[in-house]
Amino acid sequence: MQGASISLDHVGISFGDAQIVSNVNLEIRPGEFICLLGPSGCGKSTLLNAIAGFLPVQGRIEVNESPVTGPGLDRGVVFQSAEVLFPWLTIRENVEYGLRLRGTPALARREKADHFLGLVGLTHAAEKFPAQLSGGMRQRAQIARVLINEPHVVLMDEPFGALDAQTREVLQVELDRIWRESGCTIVFVTHDIWEALLLADRVVVMTAGPRAGIKTIETIDLPHPRDQGSSECLALFRRLRDDIGAEVKQALRQQGLNREPV
């Protein structure tokens, strides 16, 4: 599988009169891992949904040089909530869903599902229903369901946000491995600076909304697997924390939430 390039050219998104995101320009290389960071409510999910093709946009979004006009098989989406798994299908049937839609014969479907279930460590849970799985297992099932379609781009919206710290760490390492094996391009929304430092090639920090845009882009030129205790990592962490901190303050001020001591 080969990752695709993504190009955002003067992208703006609005809901009715409210301009949520405006003038975003970003070139993402094939196979790159991009993390989107920013204060809550600035428009990270909105931007991701736009790349997924769920929302109309101003400006241009192109994936592998062809404009995005709607959802497509070339872009897989991993949602924050594992509710998007179909509760009436077993984990295996959920994972096979995309293949079934395309009419892949049962045997080939089964073989491929086995491979991807193994990749996310869910072979033993294949015949269970989503409700019988833990939160972390459900998220892995969701990832397998997306990867089996072999998308060029995987869009992930805080996929590990609802998990406990230990599970999250395990899945971060797994995702890093899967990404390197598959070669796909990943755009990953997170609140967690450490998570971004662990995974990303570049970290994109967004400004506080409304009319959110890109504040800074940090290139994380460190070898994988990354050591969060290294001095480069710590320096990057501080820089990102200060960048985001300023925007969060700005966002809170707009929401009337910060009470400066008088």
């Binding site: 959802p71 009436w88 299908l89 869903y97 395309r102 229903f129 369901r145 379609n149």
Partner: protein, 267 residues
């Protein structure tokens, strides 16, 4: 704390506790029925049989009516009308509900009618149905059909509207088109609503069938209950009422078992 008199430190072994819990579950229902029968019996001792026949009298009457075939005939007539009208109603109500839930324009068109008719019980249409469709079988079935379509359609619409939009987005980005989205996401999501609608409709079908049979039928449990009046046979009324209760229970049980078995994964 009435039947457990052990000191706080003593614990019953788990198996004993489980046995007690099960015994309670199994025995409370029948015991309560028995108590009810007893109360009925005692009450019947102090009233005339025309006012309240005793359980034993009703039992004997039921046996007689079973022996001469009249009870089974009435039950079969009512059961057939309910089954036919209800099944047709579900068969039409489900697709109608999906269609209306999916296309808001159609829903907007039909909405005023729904809002108007939802408070008019089907019983109100009995006379009209007889005038339009005659006194035959079709009248009763049509009324039950109407009852069922209404409820099943409304429930199905609610189900379609309750489909998680994120699941639709997920399906789309996994390669679903409008048709596969319908068959693989919307329909399965809506199944529990359809089943609920069908079950409620079954209950209402019993209401409808009795009133329709009272007004215009020679056969069926409703007719039987109504004829009893002419012969001052209160015991027939009781037999009819109890037969209705049992028939309803059986229908609901069968429906529940079937839907649990066939549609288990959608619940």
């Amino acid at each position: 704390m009435s039947d457990t008199t052990q000191s706080p430190g003593v614990r019953l072994p788990l198996s004993t506790l489980r046995f007690k819990a099960m015994a309670t579950k199994v025995s409370v229902g029948p015991l309560s029925v028995l108590a009810g029968l007893l109360l009925w019996h005692v009450a019947s001792l102090y009233t005339s049989p025309l006012f309240l026949p005793s359980p034993l009298t009703v039992w004997r009457t039921a046996l007689e009516m079973l022996a001469d075939g009249s009870l089974l005939e009435s039950v079969a007539a009512s059961a057939w009308r309910i089954a036919a009208g209800w099944a047709a109603g579900v068969a039409v109500g489900v697709p109608l509900g999906v269609f209306m839930g999916r296309f808001p324009v159609i829903r907007l068109m039909v909405d005023p009618y729904i809002e108007f008719f939802r408070f008019i019980p089907p019983i109100a249409f009995v006379t009209l149905a007889v005038i339009w469709l005659g006194p035959g079988e079709i009248t009763k079935i049509a009324l039950i059909f109407y009852t069922t379509v209404f409820i099943v359609t409304l429930n199905t619409i609610a189900g379609v509207k309750a489909v998680n939009p994120l699941r639709l987005q997920a399906a789309r980005s996994l390669g679903a088109n409008a048709i596969s989205e319908m068959t693989t996401v919307i329909l399965p999501s809506t199944v529990p609503f359809m089943v609920t609608g069908a079950r409620i409709a079954m209950g209402n079908s019993f209401l409808t069938v009795v009133s329709a049979e009272i007004v215009s039928a020679q056969t069926g449990l409703g007719a039987m209950i109504w004829t009893a009046r002419n012969f001052a046979r209160t015991d027939w009324v009781f037999v009819g009422i109890i037969a209705l209760g049992i028939l309803g229970y059986v229908f609901d049980r069968v429906l529940r078992l079937a839907s649990n078995k066939l549609l288990n994964r959608y619940q």
